[in-house]
């Protein structure tokens, strides 16, 4: 479990992280999104007890990051922005080294190392120097290192950034498996599709502050407004005879379709479909208009930047 309250970090006169309050339960994945320099890495470093918070507190895996640094670090697996690989070591030696750093016994070290090398498709390259690995292989090895001691908390910075689609899928599957085994996971990423697919909670960080956080649905509603539904027609239909039921607002009318904003789809949608049918609409499909995390993120960032610009201008 990860809990933070007013977590803040100041470097000289600059607040890199300012008042971050979060809660991630076991079995949950938090997707931490934000621009470069927004404070994601600083937050992760505070959660790893590498940086001491200037203000506020954080508990990771039940331990206070300021008081129990060693215990926090023992219960966290970190994939850092720079992978931190020793280029003259072989892949197997590298995992063996970190297995010993985390005090795993010989049997466990071998077991975990073999499993992870096999899982990430690195078994055949295990005896080769890391310097000879491709970028993707290096990233997989770094991820394997973070998972080596089966930590209850995982902090992953861009876990699939340099990977080919198959490898990225492999990593996402592994993260999903870890989530189902009640691990607490934080993913810092610019890959919004990945965050959308994996994260239970999304937090957007801007200039050190959490701009918004919540489930994807909550964020969509907050940023993009209520859900929209689209009725598609097989041919051109004017729709003058349509009685729009209460709770639905017509947002857009086209020749072969209509788009409605619906506050309470469970109640309103059946009535709307009935009205469309009784008005003899050539209806072929009625579906929710897909809204992506990318739309949410871009809108949120555009809003905050324009309000910042206005504030500066004023």
């Amino acid at each position: 479990m990860i809990e933070t309250e007013d977590l803040s970090k100041q470097f000289n006169d600059f607040w890199a992280v300012d008042g971050v309050t979060l809660s991630v339960k076991p079995g949950q994945i938090l997707g931490l999104l934000g621009q470069n320099g927004a404070g994601k890495t600083t937050t992760v470093r505070m959660l790893t007890s590498l940086l001491t918070p200037t203000r506020g507190w954080a508990r990771v895996g039940g331990y206070d990051v300021t008081q129990d640094g060693d215990k926090v670090r023992a219960s966290v697996g970190v994939l850092t922005e720079q992978h931190g690989l020793y280029m003259r070591m072989t892949g197997a030696e590298y995992l063996e080294f970190f297995g010993r750093v985390y005090s795993l016994d010989v049997h466990k070290r071998r077991l975990r190392s073999d499993y992870l090398l096999e899982y990430f498709g690195l078994a055949r390259a295990a005896g080769r120097r890391i310097g000879e690995y491709s970028k993707g292989m290096r990233q997989k090895l770094a991820l394997a290192r973070a998972l080596m001691h089966e930590p209850p908390v995982l902090l992953l910075d861009e876990p699939t950034s340099a990977m080919d689609p198959e490898s990225a899928r492999l990593v996402r599957d592994e993260i999903a498996r870890l989530k189902s085994s009640q691990r607490t996971i934080v993913i810092c990423t610019h890959n919004l599709v990945e965050a959308e697919a994996l994260a239970d909670i999304i937090a957007i960080i801007f200039k050190g502050r959490i701009l918004m956080s919540g489930s994807l649905e909550e964020l969509k509603r907050k940023v993009l407004g209520v859900n929209e539904y689209e009725a598609k027609f097989s041919s051109s239909w004017a729709g003058d005879a349509l009685k729009i039921p209460q709770g639905a607002i017509l947002r857009e009318r086209r020749e072969t379709g209509m788009r409605f904003q619906i506050e309470n789809p469970g109640e309103t949608n059946p009535r709307l479909v009935r009205e469309l049918a009784s008005a003899h609409a050539p209806l072929v499909a009625f579906q929710e208009v897909p809204r992506t995390l990318e739309q949410v993120y871009l809108k949120a960032m555009a809003d905050v930047q324009s309000s910042h610009a206005e504030a500066l201008h004023a």
Binding site: N12, T48, G84, V101
Partner: protein, 478 residues
């Protein structure tokens, strides 16, 4: 404990393996380790033959030990690069973060780096020395005896430990390998100068002093390692990105610490001076004990050892001793009337030397200078006792009038240096090493300006205008 040692060895072993796989480190190390003994052997052979031609066998006898000292030193300087980049190099390569994110304790990582930093140069040095000795044994050169060899090995080890422990402190505090390499001259040059002194001592055959040098280097190395661990903070290793000299920050930090809560000279005196003096209670007590014990021992030494030396002493020696002693207790002033400004400047110089000596040696040199100054009192009184003057009367009339100002000034000035050394080697959470040094310098400035300078000024006035009259009347001199 076993687990701790395993962790230290884990860090060291990994890096050692890394080095042995890097031809850019290995090649020069092997080439220089093995080729330098050949060169030295050739030079030593030629020199021995040259000296033998003129019958100066003593120099020739000492050439081989000297060569061993030099041969042992060179591989250390070459492999110093390993220690210099131990932390900052990993930081630049981005490999430090996974290690710092692990549950390893700070000192596991630090000692691991120290161990590997020492092992590489020592392996190279010992190999080079052994190689050279094999060559010596096959020629008509005199092999150093086992005692000298032990001394040489200890000196080489002490140099390696000193240089590596300093290099690792630099590596932790630097933000780039380039900066660390530039700062390395602050290690190599002093050690090279020290080596010159050791070489002279080696030619003179003063082994006891060389053993003392080994001990002193050992103590300073230990303090350097302590300093490094005290200021090893994961946060600073990751947090600082650039080498920038922020003069504004330096001045502001120093000024803020110096000014404290005082907003006028009066309030500064009233608030800040008592505050800093309270911090000095324990160091002052230590300095008082050192003063009493040092003076007593030197008094005893003067009264026991000097009579033993008397039969061998010349008239000139007597004159020198008496002249020195007169000057020490103010009798010189009685005749020469040294100006107050001269005495004041002289004492200020002594206090500054104690501070500077203490700052570069974690208080060791400062403490030695203090002991030298303070013990002189006992020694001089002992000598005057021998020539028939009452030491108590001399103390009361020749030292006490200005000494009640001067001796406390010296004690306080040395106590603050001792405190600086202790703070420097003690972990200061949340503060960078630079910040700690600036705050300590501010404390020193407070004590120097607020307490020591006024006391020394009063002491100089008393010593010039009052002490000589009291002393002359006490001793019935004109």
């Amino acid at each position: 404990m076993r687990n701790d040692l395993q962790m230290i060895w884990l860090v060291a072993g990994r890096e050692l393996r890394d080095q042995f796989r890097d031809w850019r480190i290995l090649s020069p190390l092997i080439i220089l380790t093995l080729s330098f003994p050949f060169l030295m052997n050739e030079v030593a052979g030629q020199a021995v033959a040259f000296f033998a031609k003129y019958g100066t066998n003593l120099i020739a006898d000492r050439l081989v030990p000297f060569s061993v000292l030099i041969i042992g030193f060179f591989p250390i300087t070459i492999s110093l690069v390993v220690a210099l980049e131990s932390f900052v190099g990993e930081k630049e390569r981005g490999t430090i973060e996974p290690l710092l994110s692990s549950p390893m304790k700070d000192w596991h990582i630090y000692f691991g780096k120290v161990l590997v930093g020492i092992l590489t140069p020592l392996i190279a040095s010992y190999t080079s020395i052994a190689f050279y000795l094999v060559m010596v044994s096959r020629q008509h050169l005199q092999m150093p005896n086992s005692y000298t060899l032990l001394l040489l090995f200890m000196l080489t080890t002490a140099h390696a430990v000193l240089m590596v422990s300093a290099a690792i402190v630099i590596s932790v505090q630097s933000t780039s390998v380039r900066a660390a390499n530039l700062l390395a001259s602050f290690i190599v040059i002093p050690v090279a100068i020290m080596m010159q002194g050791e070489s002279v001592l080696l030619f003179w055959g003063t082994d006891q002093v060389l053993w003392l040098a080994v001990a002193a280097v050992g103590i300073i190395s230990g303090l350097l390692i302590r300093l490094g661990i005290a200021h090893f903070q994961r946060e600073y290793l990751l947090g600082r990105e650039f080498d920038s000299l922020n003069v504004r920050w330096v001045w502001q930090t120093f000024w803020r610490a110096l000014k404290g809560e005082g907003d006028s000279v009066f309030s500064w005196y009233r608030l800040e001076i008592p505050k800093v003096m309270r911090k000095l209670v324990f160091p002052i007590l230590i300095m008082l004990v050192v003063a009493v014990v040092g003076s007593w021992l030197s008094y005893q030494w003067a009264t026991v050892a000097v009579p033993r030396m008397l039969p061998a002493a010349t008239t000139r020696d007597f004159e020198d001793v008496v002249k020195g002693a007169r000057q020490s207790i103010g009798l010189a002033q009685a005749n020469q009337r040294l100006s107050a400004l001269y005495i004041f400047a002289n004492n200020v110089r002594a206090v500054l030397l104690i501070m500077l000596g203490g700052l570069v040696s974690f208080g060791v040199l400062g403490m030695l200078l203090y002991m030298l100054n303070i013990s002189l009192v006992g020694g001089v009184l002992g000598i005057f006792n021998l020539i028939g003057f009452s030491p108590l009367k001399l103390f009361a009339a020749g030292l006490l009038p200005h000494g009640i100002f001067e001796i406390p000034a010296l004690i306080i000035a040395s106590a603050i240096v001792l405190r600086m050394a202790v703070i420097l080697v003690t972990p200061q959470l949340g503060k960078s090493m630079g910040q700690v040094i600036l705050e300590l310098l501010a404390d020193w400035t407070k004590v120097f300006l607020g307490v020591v300078l006024p006391l020394l000024a009063i002491a100089a006035m008393v010593e010039t205008y009052i002490t000589p009259f009291i002393l002359m009347s006490a001793l019935n001199l004109k």
